[in-house]
Amino acid sequence: MAITPNEAAAALSEIENTTRRGMTLRGYRVAGPILMVWGLIWAVGYVAMGVLPVERWGPVWFILDFVGATVTIIMTGRGYARRATAVKAAVPAGLPWKLALGMVGTAAFVLGVVAIFPQGETAAYLALPGLVTGMIYMSIGLWSGLRYALIGLAVFAATLVGFFVFRSDLAFWMAGVGGGALFLSGLWLRKA
């Protein structure tokens, strides 16, 4: 069977698209359990904010974020290492450090914004992480897969709804809806 250059180019393009789709779905499967962990951390953290005095929020989140970051780095490393060993390829250079720096950078950004916020407006403090998280996932989604963008949009929208409609119970709203959305999103990704 003779194949024209155009047909051959189209076939190579299709192979590339299929390979990329497979990589995206594999990425979802690695990210799913990590998102479920963050859903739980999110829920615990916001419930703590709902029941503890303001001065205890910082230490609680410091511990929870440390646990979440450690679990994220370990699970991501395992996800890559398993495949890298199988195909005799290298784990992406400096991946754990990049992840850690990304999380530290995000935390620094949130803390920086909080530092210049008007003091005493607790609802704004409660909503900020939800908006930032939603924006991060929407940005990731533009490059790495539509599902991340949809998850980011859901978290962003849920945060705004909580801020404007359920402000008096915002901590518990964020725990249930935000944490629940992240956990369910993780399940959705894991099944990809």
Partner: protein, 103 residues
């Protein structure tokens, strides 16, 4: 390895199946739903083309149970890998016009 057109593989869905399996060649076999998601095929279409590829010796199907649910997993055979590489090499040569100037 000589580049060579593989007519059996060149069919669009079979090409996607082979590409998806080649990308996972050294990891775990792909189960049917994941292969279906990657290739964006329907159940019937995917099953029919997998049968064709299996008869050609390019893929191996393994059926087992996870709990009470049946599971079909698919992997490339050694012959399938070679055939896919030959075909991709052939496609690249066609695109680059290799051999056009040969006497």
């Amino acid at each position: 390895m000589a580049a060579q057109s593989e007519d059996l593989i060149h069919q669009p869905l079979r090409l996607k199946i082979m590409a998806a399996l080649y990308a996972e060649r050294d990891v775990d076999p792909l189960d049917f739903p994941r292969l279906k998601a990657i290739t964006q095929a329907t159940d019937g279409n995917l099953g029919s083309h997998l049968t064709t590829l299996e008869k050609a010796g390019y893929v191996a199907l393994a059926k087992d149970f996870v709990g009470k649910r049946p599971r079909t997993r698919v992997a490339l055979t050694g012959e399938g890998r070679k055939a896919f590489r030959r075909h991709v090499e052939y496609l690249r040569e066609v695109v680059e016009g290799v051999g056009d100037d040969a006497p």
